[in-house]
Symmetry: C2
């Protein structure tokens, strides 16, 4: 069985957290690893119902997702969290508690995200229709020393996935033979672009 770890994707809305986390999960599952993805859609309903966007509520949100990642990690699972998680202190608290905590900063310039705006959220945030929107009207504190930084406006998804797998190899979470395997044709087909 593989050792556990937590891949923690942090970054602004639309920066590629969910897309990349799902792809990495698919690759790892195909390699036989135990993987759980804790995405906002799941955690909002099952862990964090009723929490809003104040600093306190966002911190509580991250604490709960982190707690679940901690339990999974220490039991041999690769836990993957995709959460904006805007506050550095929250993420650093998790780093202290979770063995093999791998912080992945999705660092796409906000101008690109505003232009991309797949879900139309930035338009609404800029018009003031959505309040407390991270990167527009609410703070985002970049990680000081993340294990990986990925700018989805410059780097391909395939390259990003490869770098993540290699970081898992360095930690001996997966073997180097496994990390070097090419993506299956089906996977490769679906990973050509972000969002």
């Amino acid at each position: 069985m593989n050792s556990g770890c937590t891949l923690w994707f942090t970054g602004l809305s639309g920066s590629g957290k969910s897309t990349l986390s799902q792809l990495v999960a698919t690759r790892l599952r195909a390699l036989g690893a135990r993987v759980e993805v804790l995405d906002g859609d799941i955690t909002r309903t099952l862990l964090c119902q009723g929490l809003g966007f104040s600093r306190q509520d966002r911190e509580e949100n991250i604490r709960r997702i982190g707690f679940v990642c901690e339990l999974l990690s220490r039991n041999g699972v690769i836990a993957i969290a995709a959460a904006i998680s805007p506050y550095r202190a929250s993420r650093d608290e998790l780093r202290k508690r979770i063995p093999n905590f791998i912080e992945i900063h999705m660092n796409c310039p906000v101008e690109v995200l505003i232009k991309r705006d797949v879900k139309g959220l930035y338009k609404k945030a800029l018009a003031g229709e959505i309040k407390q929107f991270t990167g527009i009207s609410d703070p985002y504190e970049s990680p000081a020393a993340p294990e990986l930084t990925i700018d989805s406006s410059k780097e391909s998804i395939e390259s990003s996935v490869a770098r993540i797998l290699h970081s898992l190899e360095k930690l001996q979470i997966i073997s180097s033979a496994i990390a070097d395997l090419p993506a299956s044709p089906a996977t490769a087909k679906s990973v050509t672009t972000f969002s």
Copy 2:
């Protein structure tokens, strides 16, 4: 690696849920199983902060603990939850979602618990100093068909632990050779009485 499951202890305050869940966890860990105990003390801080004792809040509490048990169970961990979980519908919802869900009804007569009253909570509840206290001023719905029923006023802890281990053996979560092992002297010493 062992298969996962969830041992769900339900019952009134003082009925032996925490004591028994800790002992079962100790026995299972000594046998090499991966085990996590989700006890009220942990979950109140890390999962369920801010929830009260209304039906809605109690249901939300159980849903969150159940979600974590589900994730652990399906990844080969023996998740042990010790929660009053007074509503049958809440527990039945978890039974549908969690593979190998083992409901253990701690069914000690309330008169015995009032007499025992280790934490002094029943006295306060009867005096009206604690509101919405399960079994006194708030409902408890017994399971219709639990996998195990344990009355800690009649059955010894050792017998209870043995029956739980045998239920895990029946489900092939642990092997029969393992379930039949005697408790270690250290364990045996600490399991002579409930509460």
